[in-house]
Each structure stands twice: as C-alpha cells, then as structure tokens.
Subunit: 198 residues, 2 copies
C-alpha cells in the first residue's frame, strides 16, 4: 500500500477494520473521502465521535435514545403489559418498522454465548426480571434465530415461566417471498414442525 | 429512523452518503462504531480529517504522496522515458501491484466527460504535454475502457502524435480467467478485433 501516502494508507487501514469493508472497499471509500469537501469530511468525522460520546440508554427498556426514557416507554398508547425481548436496538427498530406491534420492548444488549464467554449476567436479564414485578401479562422472546438467540430464549423461558407470566417465542420458518429451494434445511424442518392448520 | 437517537440517525445519514453504503449497511456500521472503544472511534475520525487535510500531489506525476515528489518519480531505477497515463492514483496502484511496469506515470485526475462537463482543461493534460519536452520515448495511455476513458485516450493520441513521440493504448479484450459466456458483446468484439497470431 506504499503507492499511496501514509495518510491514505492509515485511513484505508482504519476503514478496513469496519465490518463488511474489505481492503478494496476501504480504498474506494478512502479516495471518496479525500475527494469530498473538507466540511463534509469534518461533519462525517464529528458525527462518529458525537454518536459514540452521547450514547444513552432508556432507563426502562435500554434501547438507545437521547432522553432518559425512550418515546416508546413514555407512550400512553402502547400496551405496557406486553414486553418484547430483543437483542439489540436494531432488532427493536425492525419490529417498529412493521408498525403493528403495540407493546413495549426490552433490549438485552446481546445474547448468551458460552463460546464468546457471554453469560446470563452479561446481558440485561436482571433488569428484565425486575420489570416483571409490574403489571406484565406476556413476554415475547424475539431474540435471533441463532444458537445464541435460542439459548437466550430458553434461558428466559425457564427464568420467567415459574412466575406465571406467559412467555412466547416469535415463529421461525420460511420467510415470506422466500424460494423453498434456496432455504437451508434447518429452516425447512422448522417450518414443517411449526405448521399450522389452514 | 426515529427509533434510534438523533446522534445515531445523523451518523447513519452521513454514512449512507458514502459510495456503496446503503441505509442497512450504514445502520450496521453506525452500531458497530458506537460499540467500538472511544479511542478507536476518535482514531478513525481523525484519520479521515488528516487524510483530507494533508492531501498532497507529486509535483511531477500528480499521484497522491506525502512528499513533494513521489518515490516513483524520484527513483533512478525507473525508466523515465516511458510515461503511463492513468486517470487516478488507484489505477497507478493497480499497475504497481503487478510489479512489472518499469516506467513512470502521469495521473490525470479524471477523464474527459462532456456529459459531466469535464473538458480537456479540467484534467492534467497541459502538465502532461509539458513533461514531453524532456526525453520521453513512449506514452502508454491506460485510461479506463469506458466511454470517457476512450475519449480521453483519443484526445491524448491526437495531442501528442504530431510531436513524434510513440503513443500506445493498453489492450482491451477478454480478462484472464474470464468465462466467455459471461462477457459482454462489446468486449468480445474488441477481443476479436485485437486478435494476435499465435
């Protein structure tokens, strides 16, 4: 990479550490950045530092927000007796985009992963259990359909069931519009197991 | 995007303006950035601003470099009588990686594009002509094989030929390892026109 200047090489190096950005994309981005007006580069750089420094979590559901409590938790029109448990704020956003879910959320901040050394005490499970002391009727576990997500779902189910609160898990199966021949075997078998009468 | 904080939304907005980064990648990158240690975020941001502020072009070939003259132009082992004309520093880097080209370069900083309003005076053609006053035997035009690149190549050819200096164009054809059925018709016809006896 010594065909470029040290500054460019350093920038390419920094960019290629980001997820999904290989050395070629990093070079393309770096050359785009040096072609941008200086104010725009400063704006981009400042937005990164600002976002990192001003990160704040909702005191109730632990999603990322600018206020003490997020708009969803403050909303009177939401059903506060139904809590959807998700791994990250991005998963919350994915469900919010559907516009159909009326309950509230609980953001765990990850999933149990013995491989990565993430245990139940490393994610916000204690905080979830504390919230259940209120008037909660159902906990919908919407962790990812990965090994870690399933492990976390099972752990939550065991943790809560004895309290008499309903615990459900979002369905797993063939995605809408999915082409059967392109879908992995595990998903196909899940879809078969979870079949419903029509 | 109001499921996230304003800081995150702003960062996602900034990132999605970069080439090849859509809204989903921008969100993934933004959440990765806020999960990075603060020093690393500052390092990344500083590398962008530094690269932009310290951009410097070689006084001879106009490639991006940290010094007044780039290592290639300063090198005594390179053949300074052969100049390869490229559009960008990235194209120069692509040929340098082959390790086989022994001449020097001239970076135009773009290509002639009537569509984008880029004329001959907007790229470094005047500087190229000035370099030809020295002891130059051949100019190899290695602009892209696009409409703009070809237009620029033809322009350079007309500009220089009268001076008696040899002007050549890199070959265009089927890429090595390329599968014929996957290659566009224009390239196939170029490859046919440019056939060589074996």
């Amino acid at each position: 990479m010594d065909y470029f200047s040290n500054h460019i090489s350093r920038l390419i190096g920094e960019l290629s550490r980001l997820p999904g950005i290989g050395p070629k994309s990093a070079a393309r981005l770096a050359f785009h950045i040096i072609d941008m007006p200086e104010e725009e580069v400063e704006e981009l750089a400042a937005s990164m530092v600002d976002a990192k420094k001003n990160i704040h979590y909702c005191k109730t559901c632990f999603t990322i927000t600018d206020e003490e409590e997020c708009p969803i938790c403050r909303s009177r029109s939401r059903d506060h007796s139904t809590i959807m448990v998700v791994e990250t704020t991005r998963d919350l956003a994915a469900y919010e985009k559907t516009g159909k879910y009326e309950g509230v959320y609980h953001v765990l901040g990850g999933a149990i992963s013995p491989m990565l050394g993430i245990g139940p005490s490393d994610i916000r499970l204690k905080e979830l259990v504390e919230r259940l002391r209120g008037d909660v009727k159902e906990v919908i576990v919407a962790t990812n359909s990965s090994l870690e997500g399933e492990t976390t779902a099972m752990y939550i189910s065991k943790l809560i069931k004895s309290s008499g609160i309903k615990v459900s898990r979002i369905a797993s199966g063939v995605p809408v519009g999915g082409d059967l021949e392109c879908i992995d075997e595990v998903t196909l078998l899940r879809a078969l197991d979870g079949r419903v009468e029509i």
